[in-house]
Amino acid sequence: MNANEHLSKKVKVLIAKPGLDGHDRGAKVIVHTLKDAGMEVIYSGLHNTIDEIVDTALKENVDVIGMSIYSGAHLSLSQKLMALLKEKGLTDKLVLVGGNIPQQDIEALKDYGVNGVFPTGANLNEIVTFINERIKK
């Protein structure tokens, strides 16, 4: 790979909806936001298992995985994701969780290894900056 190719490569993000929750307004707003910020974004669509999300992340070789959860099941789903990423040796992925996340659960999510938590109403620019500061292309 020559230097120019490296420079033009975009940050690649998977925005995923795990579980059965169908509230995808937030996830789609993030897809539009990251695309507008120049990233390459893959949207999983609804009703994914954690296995399916990790498979996609692996197959597409993404830099970032963002999960959007509104059902209240964010703790168990995130724990599962982090365990499976570890099992598959994908610990280099930047993991973000967003949605209806209560303040008191943010610490627990970070303890599982989630890099960034962005509850409903989070600043869109901050999410872009968060990713750009951590993934250097």
Binding site: L20, D21, G22, D24, R25, K28, H32, H47, L77, L124
Partner: protein, 539 residues
Amino acid sequence: MSNSKPEELKEVILESGIKVKPVYGPEDIKNIDFEKEVGQPGEYPFTRGIHPQMYRKRPWTMRQYSGFAGAKETNQRFKWLLEQGQTALNVAFDLPTQLGLDSDDPRAEGEVGRVGMAIDSLKDLEDAFEDIPIDKISTSLTINPVASVMLAMYLVVAEKHGVPWEQIRGTTQNDILKEYVGRGTWIFPVEPSIRLIADMVEFCSKNVPKFNPFSVCGYHIRESGATPAQEMAYAFEIAISYIEHILKRGLKIDDFAGRIAFNFDIHGNLWEQVAKFRAGRRLWAKIIKERFGAKNPRSMTLRMIAGGGGGGLTIEEPENNIVRGAYYALISALSGTQTMALCSYDEAYTIPSKKAAKISLRTMQILADEMGLCDTVDPLAGSYYIEWLTNEMEKKIVEWMEKVEEKGGMIKAVESGYIQEDVSYQAYLYEKGIQSGEIIKIGVNKYVSKEEEDRQVEFHPFNLDAAENQKKRLKEVKASRDQKSVSQALAELKQAAQTNENVMPYILKAVKCYATLGEITDIFKQVFGEFKEPAAFHK
């Protein structure tokens, strides 16, 4: 007299794209033929309301969305709501139930009983409605792709209570097209999903005449990002798709149009919402009469539940949502809704607490009994602004309907992902508007509180034992039922699903012998396959 010139005033453009002047007068409504276009309440074109005396005769039905954990817990909440003066039930199911998964399905893990009640078999619904007077209340079952199964279970429960089907009043939400746009509980591809809806309409028109087999939801499309005009336009296009499908079966428009219900959203600009409903009633009446040739005036009435307004509520300073809820209720009443339901102030982040649910109910009761909202019909009629805006909204709704028809109708527009893409892009623009402060939300981007406690909220405790109990109950049901009759009923259902025969009698037979929701759904998955989501982000 004010010194400010009009050009110095801030421009006001409603979400639906209508520019508002600072002052309206007789000039603005001089072209309206009041007799013909506004008319009398209870008469075509129903602009002022679908009943001649509206709330003077009977206030709106109050129906809070409710359900969590297992059937027994939900039964307690139902009874409590009825004791508080609620006049109907609106049942919330958990996501596995809404997606036709039994509680022991691996995909259901962590979701059983979380956002609503878990129903695996008839046994659960029997418990949920224990000692509830099914003959006296109307029940709304908020479920879509497997609405046919839930209706069958409800009919059997009614039978067990000794209530004849002719007396049953209620609604299954059962609007699958909007699920593909927002809300997201879809299972099967579009065509067979609509076939199930038509089967239910046909069955109900003959056997359960007071039941609304589907309720077309502009609500969730608006919540997903659509403007008020699009909300109404897309709902009408969805309803037209269903109607055209049902007519192909040989039913006449007047056989079922009087049983079509609608579900609309309230948040946003007060005047725009009121005009949306007045315009919507008039336009719907015209569509049913002129396009479909209905003769019965009842077929032409836009009957609706309006309220909710979840998209307008905020997690910041949640008590402000009580105030927003009160305004939404006022808008609903001024709009002439038949049924009202409010999102509770804590609903932006949790299942409503008892306290929050009670405040919502009291909000509606205070409005009905203390504020004079039931005194006279359509009190805003004749207002220069409201009548002008009603006309403008009607034009906007028609414009958006035409756009869908250019795409080949709602089924094609949804299958291709056109509607989903459009709505999600608007949600993005709206969010940018909030973040830039262009769209004002108090407590969010204006007068933002720095106090920590303003973001602290009380969560509904999620009981992990409830899921385990539910799985145990399912095991017991499976162990105690007659397995042979279950297998036979499911085989017969499969055969019917493969032909054009109406599946309702076969579903009834299956639920009666305690076939589970998951087993019945699996039969449909085998025959119909599953929906593949179009991922469209071209903008």
